[in-house]
Subunit: 160 residues, 2 copies
């Protein structure tokens, strides 16, 4: 399987959660309870998303984070690259041209470029809004406020 780091996974999950109340301010503690993820980890992810202008932080008491733009204008690629850096399947693709010694000879580079572009474009095509509407179908009986007892809602912490 192609590995997405857990942090990036969490990022998508948290953003999805926040998109269910796009105008609200969400704090770390609540999100931690809702998702079952450890509080400091949630905090770390959120602050990264904040630094990349996907979230806006509200400091002080009653603070938290709110979406910086509407879910329609946030793509999955935005979220992933905020946390993991530029989307690329291999290392040499992370940089732009001109940094690799053997580059003019490297017979793989151009192939990888094709592959990476394809994947990146596909992730750019999926918006947070699309995903969170899917979620609504399953969340709408619980009006999505705070602390539910049911833990764990990531794509990660599950197994067969």
């Amino acid at each position: 399987m192609i590995r997405l780091s857990k942090l990036a996974d969490y990022g998508v999950v948290l953003m999805t959660r926040m998109a269910s109340r796009p105008e609200g301010v969400h704090n770390t503690m609540d999100l931690s309870l809702l998702t079952g993820l450890p509080t400091p980890t949630v905090s770390k992810v959120l602050s990264k998303l904040g630094r990349h202008d996907l979230l806006r932080s509200v400091r002080g008491a009653k603070g938290g984070y709110k979406l910086a733009r509407s879910p329609q204008n946030i793509s999955i690629a935005d979220i992933i690259s905020a946390i993991e850096g530029p989307i690329a399947l291999t290392q040499c693709m992370e940089h732009t041209l001109g940094c690799c010694d053997i580059e003019p000879l490297c017979p793989s580079r151009y192939g990888w470029q094709v592959i990476n572009d394809t994947v990146r474009r596909s992730l750019e095509s999926v918006s947070l809004a699309e995903i969170s509407t899917q979620v609504q179908l399953f969340a709408n009986r619980r009006p999505g406020t705070s602390a539910s007892a049911t833990p764990v809602a990531t794509g990660e912490l599950t197994n067969g």
Copy 2:
């Protein structure tokens, strides 16, 4: 960045190399020299590709591996999933429905499914043939037979 394991990276590189002589039999030693990858590693990757019917092994002296089908009929998704298992960005997506306790409640699953399908489809759309024609442009002055001194040709072993 989305991480592809090195082995999968190598898989793509090796297949690309072999696609430049689609009918030929390629042995581990030659491919190792051509790519700069350690021989046992090449061997491990090739045998995995063989077990998934992308390569056909020819044992004994003068043996090696040859492509099991034409490059047009091999997708990047085939290669990656042969080495890494089913293409999925998160663990719970590796299985088919019905294996996760909280599944009926999991608000993320359906979002991930959308994302994964998008990525998988994009990788299925790129064939080995497309990539190796790109390679030809850069390899055609060296008629692509055996051992060149220039090492390292993966998308991985390079940095900035």
